[in-house]
Homo-oligomer: 320 residues x 6
């Protein structure tokens, strides 16, 4: 499968019954926002709560049970590569997501007859089914490192500036599905977790920008600092490649009003995330026609005004 990705938002009302799913095309990164997922895989079972993420690699058969009733959330699918930890560079031995916090299941199997058990296989973008009369979860033992796993986002150890300036969001990369070009991911999974803000002499919220990445954001719980209203848990925004964006008018004006030198401040009770890619996504027809589409999103920036005053010519001249 050539390099690529897909982003889905899911709502699941009932558990999978007498069937399993298998993605022959790529890997799933699942971000439940509401309702636990109890995932049975050929390597064992994973209990995935909102605040956790689960990765089901290409080719694994799995069944999802909903112990809490309906569940909703986000799924990213990557083709032609796998998620990995970013190379930490000067961050060194500690920081961001730690390998030991990614949990693989203990081997579990059932040697059981299931008449009419259905395997649904996603292959080449289409769905195929096969019927068998036994459980696919009959793997007695396994070794290796090609396995499903989960990660609790609250284990993330965020880094950031501790004096001045504003960090690139890449500092919050949990996992990356790389391309061959360093720094240009097929898909980065980035979070905005609770953390201390201490930067001085700066504009602390995410700055206004446009860039070569397409940014899909979601919110797991709490608020997102750059959108004081209108961005709710379970919602999503998409800021595409080279489309300018930034804080809404209210966030901006209140930041300006506070001034640039507020002291340390801890952001608590929040967990936003971003799927960020160097490939521009196409929007599906169903998304474009969804009743949940926010046609007024652009209004969050209405009323933005310049706070810049052109300095007098004399001032500029002295710099030459």
């Amino acid at each position: 499968m050539r390099h690529g990705y897909a982003i889905h938002m899911y709502t699941a009302n009932k558990s999978m019954d007498n069937c399993a799913f298998c993605n022959a095309d790529g890997d799933f990164l699942i971000v439940p926002q509401q309702g636990r997922l109890f995932i049975t895989t050929e390597c064992g079972r994973l209990n995935v709560s909102p605040g956790d993420v689960a990765i089901i690699p290409q080719g694994f058969r799995f069944n999802v049970n909903l112990p809490d009733g309906p569940s909703r959330g986000y799924v990213a699918e990557v083709f032609g590569t796998h998620f990995q930890l970013p190379d930490l560079g000067p961050i060194g031995a500690n920081g961001l997501a730690s390998p030991r916090d990614f949990l693989a299941p203990t081997a579990w199997f059932e040697d059981k007859s299931y008449p009419g058990y259905t395997i649904v296989q996603k292959f080449g973008g289409e769905l195929f089914t096969a019927i068998q009369d036994f459980s696919p979860f009959n793997v007695v033992a396994w070794h290796g490192n090609y396995v499903p796993y989960k990660y609790d986002l609250s284990k993330f150890c965020p880094y950031n500036t501790v004096l001045y300036d504003h960090s690139d969001p890449s500092i919050n990369t949990v996992l990356t599905a790389p391309t061959d070009k360093p720094g240009v991911a097929l898909l980065d999974f980035v979070i905005f977790p609770p953390r201390w803000l201490v930067a001085e002499h700066t504009f602390r919220p995410p700055y206004y920008h446009r860039n070569c990445m397409s940014e899909f954001m979601g919110l797991i719980h709490g608020n997102y600092e750059a959108k004081v209203d209108g961005f709710l848990p379970g919602g999503a925004s998409l800021h595409n490649c080279m489309t300018p964006h930034g804080p809404d008018t209210k966030s901006y004006e209140s930041t300006i009003a506070r001034g640039n030198n507020v002291g340390p401040h801890k952001i608590i009770d929040t967990m936003a995330f971003m799927f960020e890619s160097s490939l521009i996504p196409r929007i599906s027809q169903s998304a474009l026609e969804s009743p949940f589409l926010d046609h007024d999103y652009y209004q969050c920036w209405i009323g933005l005004r310049s706070h810049f005053t052109v300095p007098e010519l004399k001032t500029i001249k002295t710099k030459e």
Copy 2:
């Protein structure tokens, strides 16, 4: 020249007169701790104050003038490679030392006769002299990027954990002279600048450790957080490869007394630095016999005692 390095501590009482120096063996990284250096090079002139560092690459002729009288400080010399900025990894586009803050001189020359002008050349570890009757600073213009430059350490943008845990000192790398093996430098130049400490549930001072790097530390001004007394500006310590070290007893005990959950704290007025290498340095005879050698350094750790209590067996068992 094969890969290698040398670390010097210098005390200069007078300006260089009618002479220039040239290092054919490697590059100098100069860290004045007291007294400005006014350095004339073939590419132009650099005014280097304490708090700045200057790099004079292999083969440049230069003359040092002392506008403030005597100067002292530290010099690292690297052979077979050059200093470069570390690859920032997830830190991304901002953070640590920024390329635009490294300042190269404007071309400057003199077309002048200087009878008896002496060039002192360090070549193969020995000093040679040549006499000429004109200034070596007769380069009218230049282009390229092999040039002397300086950097003001207060421009450094420090990153660190903003929630919990303790960072590896590599996070404070200003410049690195790499080897072929990522993460294992020939010589890293690392600083401990003013910054906010916000980590929770952790022991904030540098932790006790031994590692594969040999660490030479110096102090430019202020105090160093892990040695409450006894480490003075202009001093130096060397903790060699796999030799355990850490905070002195007083720093340790006062940290323990404070507990692990103190709030945000800003370290101000300090500028310590480290030259860190994967090659074990040999100590020169003159250093070993120096009247300034601190024979009692080990005493800073006398009195350290364990605060650990072995948990009852029952507690351990429940983890199985």
Copy 3:
């Protein structure tokens, strides 16, 4: 041309007359299964028998003569890369295919008029023709290493386990058309030649598996060890990405019956091969509608049954 490949099965009834072919899109790897190919190229002539393979790189004009009458076989086409020998790793200086066994032609030319000589060029997936009145095989001499070549598969030096366990088929790679990711080929050409089997305490036939590669198999002569009947020379099977497959029921049951500790055994008179790719192939309409399609292939696995007995709990417990 972006990276890609195509696999063809050919039947040729007569020699190419007064014409030459040229593939502007990619390289051909030709595997005749029946009937020799006498290939004239701009660099000289290759006599290719069943058991040999020939590679005609992108852009070479060539003519094929059938000295034995009709010929049939397999052709792989790779786009955007070329075939190369695999990096042998610990296998070292000897083993698998040796560079000296790949034979390039001696320069040969004709200075001759051929009225109406037609060049058929495959370009961008379409065929174009040009008429000229002279032979294209008018290259008097050449040098370089971009040339057609052939290889006799019986020169292959197979490696495998010589004690226990079961090897990955990559151990039998003759040529690989790589991608940028080590271990994930655009197209591997792998053979299953005569060889000794000596592994103890193991299931010797190819094991049941599904994986990220799509596997197209063919048979040049003899039998294939995992399909006791039904896989004939000139035939082909396709096991696509993440579709489970393995020995047919008869092969499996007879292996089980023999037990795991049979002694050395030499497989003779066989030459199966595999084109294996990390990109999922689309099947052409003509293949799907072919009268030769084996609609009952799946039946080779009917009747497979488990030989596994769940061990008693006590046994498992002693491992903790």
Copy 4:
């Protein structure tokens, strides 16, 4: 520490008492040939029998107890790099040493007073001591992958030719301490384990050669196939860079007498090994003066004679 290595042969008569050793210069690979080693490290305890090897990385403190009485064996020390598994290339997912067979210790500690406990530290090629009054094995828990480990050589899965020709010994690489140049190791650890020999039309014993590597061989138990007498368990041979060597006269003549087409043969009860390096070792004075030096080693090749007959000129001519 620059790249380098050392090879030692040890004889230990008693356990280490109230002391621990630490190598600040490099890593130890320990190959006991006789007598178990019970090694206590800061990460836990390793029980190392003849047939196992243990690796103690740079900087770990450890104590060795001899539960069986005296022990002897071999130790390799590598500087500036670490041992790693070789990249398997076409061998793929299985074969040679498997990561899961390298065993790290479970955390173990003692919170105990030991008056006069001595740490012996090897630093810069010299030994230093420090006295403390507590056990250094007070590490309560650990995580990471920089740890001592052991490997049972009987788990090795040997690969080799299964048809004809003779393999390069690199096919038996257990661990390699690489240089920057692929295929040219600082130190390879290679074994010659029990295995099937099936090659046809070839000279099966190690062939006569000279090469760019220096080869130190030892024998753990059994016989070594190329030296029918005179190479005993616990012994060692050194064939230096570009010094020709090969089977002794008896092995050679008996191979010739058997002819080239003997059938499958299983070598059992043997475990020879090789430390192989691209750097020429200097021999220590004590080794050169050892009463165990075999001054007559060269005699094993006395009496070798040519079995080659120059073919008549006519035969050669036909190849042109």
Copy 5:
């Protein structure tokens, strides 16, 4: 955006008024052939004359003014990568295009209201518009190296053979948009500038060839040496992948008539260029239907005849 490129020929009759363009898909390399372009970008202004080229990277908003009236020329667009200088290899420190000749603009801004100002954004191959009431050129200052720039082609320092043989056109590479495979560009920008020809014993014009690259040529001024008539400034030719091409009949015959040993000759007043890619371009419908399409181009080669005489067999034999 996946790797790709597009080539456009433009004719502009009037300046852009109250609007700006932004390419979210890739970078523009603009080659004006007639009429200056005065380009205003967010980073400042570039004055681009015929003989200069300008690069506007992905995402920059810009406005083009035509100070000389109508302008025409060529534009290449690259997706998924950026143009860079080729690695010079043995050419070393000097030669071809020098980094210091690529000129970035000085920051320039306007703080001005423009009712109805339109931003036209190319995104995913389609055009979108947005209306705003202020100038987008309100960037007061900038730093970094992601900027628009221009280059004067007459600064190019051409290299070539100075004794015999004929150079590959890659020797004239100004800028390259690389793929991951060295030597196989996504798009090379190559020029044929004024230069000395001194090669002896050779056919000096571009030789007849076909190759894996698709070659689009244009002419900025003067004549192109391989087409004595019919290739005019502002024109273009496309020789696609593996399509043979070379000098027209007149150029060829006059070269043959001159013989192989003419002395030094300086080509003056010429500036042809080539966009060369390893990906085959599709031709747009509008180009195929253009009234400017030269349907008789192939006629430039009509009348080519062989000057080769088959040597007698005896001569060939002596080489064996």
Copy 6:
């Protein structure tokens, strides 16, 4: 053997009789300046004339016969690496030394008794001897690419600027023994062959410079353009790392007198060469005490004077 090199100047008066030499430490590159060398190796025989160079890789046994009587010349020895062709970069498929011009010997052997035949082996910098009673040149056939070879320097295809400026000598690299750092060789073998000079507006002779490489020059025949007298065939000069050098006073003044715009000029009858290394060589005692040492070499630069006139301040100002 660690990376390193040695440079020797040899004078041989008689052929090697009943003996062979073998260098276990590294490879020889032999540059005869006077008198042919007839070299017999285990792979066959090489006839090496002045104007040719021969490479004898590490570990080959060879015998040298002098068919013309005494021979003299230069030998470079490289340790830890081998010579290879430079990566040509934009030079592309043609230019500099072509692989097909490096000639390996045809297999040749003798099956002959030679009582008292002596092998002299250089090992670890010392010489060892072994006596045998047969010719070592008993290798009947060979394959592979680790072989002795020779190259005729007149086949070199020199490249250079064909418009303006002055090339780096790296453009004339025949072979390079690389380090891990691109552009910084362990030893480059560079020649200054006959070629056309056409550069305009420039100072054509080698410019005055000092750099990080140490340059050993020799002359095979003719004159060297930068030393009008005093540099004779068979002589040598050494300009060490960061020691300034350039044309002698006469060459300089006559160039100045000619002016900068002389037309094309062909340098004929010359063959100078350079061994250039990034490692500073130590000079042997015998070289320092040689009666052939030129104690007055420095005098070639006596009398150099500046031709520069400081422009008036006004002129400089207008550039700002």
